[in-house]
Each structure stands twice: as C-alpha cells, then as structure tokens.
Symmetry: C2
C-alpha cells in the first residue's frame, strides 16, 4: 500500500499470512482515526468482514473473497469426505451472498471455486492461484495509473467520489492510481473529494490516503460538486466502478450517477477506472444489476471511531440505496489496465476476455 508516512508502503489492505494460514485485513471502518488489523481464520469471519464493511472497495472485496475461498477449502479438508462437498458449497454460497453489487467478489470466488474442483480441494494450489490473481489485479491497478498519464495535466482539478484508492484495491487504487502517478511525475493537481454520504468513504478514507501521499485535496459535500463544475472549478471526474457490464454500463457507489449527469451538463470529462476483475461477463442488461439497499441506520446515524450519533429526525424513515447505475452515454472514457479506452475499444477488449 502506498502509505509510506505510516510505514505501510510494504503492507497490503488485504493480505494472506502464510505463517498463521489466515487473512489479514486493515479495518477500514476505523480509518482515518486508527490503523488496525484484523486476522481472519474462518469463512464465517470473512463473510462478516465483507458484510460489515471491515473491507470494502470492489477489488479488495474480490481479493478477500479469493482468500475466503482458500479458507473454505481448508475447512472442507477438515470435515469428512462425505460432508466435504456440502461444506464447501455452503461456504461458497455464503461468500457470494455477502454483498450483491460488486462483481469482483464473484469473479474471484468463482475462480478459486473452479480450482478447488479441478485439484480435488488442493489448499496449496488454490492459495497459489489466489495469490497470482490478486497480484495480477494489483499490477493492473498500477498500469491504470501509468497508462493514463496523458490524461492528467499540470493544474488539473479533479473530482473523485467514494474511495477507489489503495485500501479499496490492495495497493495503487483505480481512481487514485493516476493521482499517485501525477504526484510522482511532479504534476500539480487538486483533488476534490466528495465526502460520499452516508458512510463518508471520501471524507474518511480518500482524504486520508491523499493526505498521506501529500496530494492537494479538498473535501466537499456531495451536493457541492455541481456548483463547482458550474464555476469551472472541476475540469475532470475520475472514479471507480463496482461492476461494468459488457455494454459499458457501470454500477458504482450511490451518487456516481448524479456526478455523471452533472458532468455531462457542464461538459466535464467523466472517467471510470477499474481492473479487469470488475467486468461482468454474464449480465447483458441493467435489469440484472442487484442494487443493495443497506440499513437506514447508516443514513440516520454517523459513526466516528467507536461512537455513533443520531443526525436525523428519529421517527422518520430513511432509504439507503448503496449503489447506482451509470449508462455509457454519460462516460467519456474508461481508465483500464490496457490504457484509456473509448466505449468501442472497451467492448472489443471485453469480447477478447470473454473468448478466453
């Protein structure tokens, strides 16, 4: 993870620990107030950590699911041969059911599921594949940053929404990778950070990551982005994705669609940034998107470290859709490991992945 000032430059937000055969996560719920790690040794713990958002960010959830499946294989090997298949299938199902929107989760889980079946539940083989897959995704994020340098100019003021940085993606980030690269290249940029209600991943996590990297940034209420665009204060939008359909439609954190509509209206380029694990090869229409509605408590209460505070009329109900859907006509280009792609280029690339 690119957080040198905290000595975290050699640590990943999701990391397999060989010695203890456990999965180590940075507890993202505590950022920016504390950097703390949790060790997971069971599939049950893995599922809880994804559901409760100890780990979040589509690629990080994907990596967690991959190692969760490795733990599922370990657990399958600890039960009788008769019970093995049932234990394994149940764990696989539980992991898939943790959160419905990010596709990286099922892409990674499915990969290890298949390896398990091919290798008769080989722990070593599946762990090897999990590690290679995660490394590949990290490498892809790095490439997103390196191959988009022409798109980031000195003096840029760039809006990002939610968090698609090292914590969300194990290392470089998807949306943040270009900012790290710009910093490395000596470009002077300002990042406007949407606070990202209700869970405030922007104000808490993205702002913290940018501060650690000494990249100029300002937190803004989500609703202020439109005004800043109208005043010419934001000249680009770069954010991540939780799922990208074959037609280029993306699903991402609630508020993304609003940013995209405003960017279109004010003629500000809008880029979505993701590794290949975010592609959904199986859905053809937005009707297939499962939009997660989370507990209304996330809207009515805010949390800080270990406290929570009521910030709404207690007797009113709240609605908390966690993601929205942005159609390709609102997306200028896609920041990918293969470079910045037009919609047609993206479709061709997806077709070539699909044939493999």
């Amino acid at each position: 993870m690119k957080i040198k000032s905290l000595g975290l430059d050699n640590i990943r937000s999701v990391e397999w620990i060989d010695d203890t055969e456990s999965l180590q996560l940075i507890d993202q719920r505590l950022i920016p107030f504390r950097v703390a790690f949790v060790q997971l040794t069971s599939v049950k713990d893995v599922c809880k950590s994804i559901k409760e958002m100890v780990v979040r960010g589509a690629p990080a959830i994907g990596a967690t699911a991959a190692y969760g499946m490795v733990l599922a294989i370990k657990e399958a090997n600890n039960v009788s041969k008769q019970e093995r298949k049932e234990s394994f299938e149940q764990n696989y199902f539980d992991i898939l059911s943790t959160r419905p929107t990010a596709i990286d989760l099922s892409n990674f889980a499915k990969k290890i599921y298949n390896i398990a079946l091919e290798t008769d539940y080989s722990f070593d083989e599946s762990l090897k594949v999990a590690k290679i897959s995660v490394d590949k995704m990290v490498e892809q994020c790095k490439n997103i940053g390196e191959k988009s340098t022409d798109y980031i100019e000195d003096g840029d003021s760039i809006l990002t929404h939610c968090n698609a940085g090292p914590l969300a993606t194990i290392d470089f980030g998807t949306a943040l990778a270009p900012f790290y690269k710009a910093k490395e290249d000596g470009k002077d940029i300002t990042v406007y950070v949407d606070e990202t209600r209700p869970r405030l991943q922007g104000a808490k996590i993205t702002a913290w990551e940018l501060e650690q990297a000494e990249i100029n940034h300002k937190i803004i209420p989500d609703s202020a982005a439109s005004f800043l665009m109208s005043k010419g204060k934001i000249n680009k939008v770069i954010l991540g994705a939780d799922r990208c359909l074959k037609d280029g439609t993306i699903s991402n954190k609630i508020g993304t669609l609003s940013v995209a509509v405003n960017a279109k209206y004010f003629d500000v380029p809008f880029y979505s940034s993701f590794p290949w694990s975010t592609i959904d090869l199986e859905s053809d229409s937005i009707e297939d998107f499962k939009i997660e509605y989370r507990d209304e408590k996330e809207v009515k209460y805010v949390t800080s470290y270990e406290d929570e505070m009521l910030i709404a009329n207690p007797k009113s109900n709240a609605l908390n859709p966690a993601f929205d859907i942005t159609p390709p006509e609102l997306i200028t280009s896609y920041f990918t490991p293969d470079g910045v792609l037009s919609l047609n280029e993206l479709k061709n690339k997806i077709e070539s992945i699909d044939k493999k």
Copy 2:
C-alpha cells in the same frame, strides 16, 4: 406554525412579544431533538442568531431582520440625538452583513429602515409595519399552497431539498405549503427528503415537520436523488429559494443546482417556491450573487443536540459553499403567491412589483 401535535399550531417560528418588547425565535439548531425558544432584546443578539443559524430560511431570516430593525429603532431612541443616526446606521449595516445570500433579509430590513427615516424613528410605526409585512408574507406562503393544488396529484412522489417549511417561513412553508394543502385535501403523497449536507436541514427539520403533519416521507442522502429519478421513483421536485433574480435565476441551498440538472436529464418537473420578498429587484446578473462560504467545520463535524462529532480526516481541508445558482432553463415553473407561473409570467409579475 402548523405543528399541532406539539401544541405549536398557534406559535410562530419568529414572533414579536409585545409585553417584553422582544423577539422570540424557535432555536432551529435543536430541532428535532428539542423545541426551545430564545428571547432577543438587542440588535447584537439578533445578528448573532442569524449568523449562527438559530434562525434560518430566507423568509424567517427576513422576518427576524424586520424585528431586528425595530430593536435598532428602540436602541436609537435610547441614545442621544447626536448619536442616534450613527447608532441606527451601524445596526442596519450589522443586520445586512449577517448573511449575504438570502435577499429577504435586506428586503425586510430596508423596508423598516425607510419607515424609521420617514417617521423620525417611531417605534410604534415601525413595529406596525414590521408586523404587517410579516403577516403579508405568511399569507403569501399560504396562497402558494392553495394556488398550486392542481400541480399536486394523488400518488405523487415529490423530492424536496433543505427546508422550506413552517420553521423557515414563519408558518405554512414555501415548498412545504403544497404538501400541507395536499394532506388537507386527502391526497396521498410521498415526500423524498434530501438530508441536505452539511447542516442536514432536510433530515433534521423537514423530516420533523413532515412527521408532525403525518405526511409520508423518506429521508435520502442527497446523492441518491438522481438514482431515484432514474428509476421513476420521483416524479416532481419542489424546493424553496433564497433569492430570485429578475430573469428567474434562483439561488438556493447548496445541492439545488445538482437536483435541477438531474431533474432536467430525467425529465422530472422542477419547481421553485417562494413569496415576493425573495425577489431581488436590484441585481441583473448572477455575478451579483454573493455565495456564502461557511466554516469548513460544518463539513468535517456533525452536531446532534449539544454534541459534535468528527466525521472526516482531521488533517484535510473542506470547502463549504452554502448556496448555489440555478438558471431559469432548469426551472419548469415557479410556485408563487399568485399561483404557479411560467418564466414569462414571473417576469411580468416582477416588473409590476418593480414599478410600485
């Protein structure tokens, strides 16, 4: 104020108390957690209450400024004749300087200023005019509700942003007046309430007012409105205004522009609702708008009752524009005391006011 369940139906959010010659405000910062009143006996207190948002909402600020000017006349009568003009001018200037965006403030203050000069600082005359002006505005808000009934249909799902209800407008509300009328008429509507970061006037005040009136409503994060529009869940937008220029441009709470852009994109009618005191007869261009930037603390901390909580990376800065500017091409019609007006009808009406 239309809050019968709390016995507040005969109380106004801004009220002159004859016995004590003081101004009584409901402390809006404590809603929904407590209903408490403050008594103001000096211009200094009035200015502090406006700045610190004990009172907020363009019409309520206007009424507060009117009675603040009455107190300024009282204070002018308590100093020597030589000092009178200076004391009065200083108080007038202080009241005008409290907040820059809402025009009702200066419209009301100017009215009482002129009466003072015409009547040689007559306390009784100025108080009489202040009361009549406030009553007129309250009556206008009531008319907004009554004259827009054709625009509210059974089954409507209507988005509102920030708070333009009884607390903000002394009694009926501007944006909320049509909802109260719909309730009275037995129409079944659902109101989506933007929580309205950073100060959460939607989640705290609008939701509370709608709950008291037993009107169906749901609080949503500001950034979720776009998604709900895309899904056909919101079929109208009604919100207030802090200032309306002669060309129909409005300034209103930050986030209004974003809602308007999204409403245009998803073909949802967008209505701005205000009494005549919200018209700015003196500005011709949006360059004249003074957009207030408030303390970054309002973004980085939330408050609940008397506590506050840090909800952002402490070492990051935040930007806090309190209002934005929505051009007439994004506004379907205007809800006014004279009925629902097109842009041209509004312009004609403003011209007729201007000639008076």
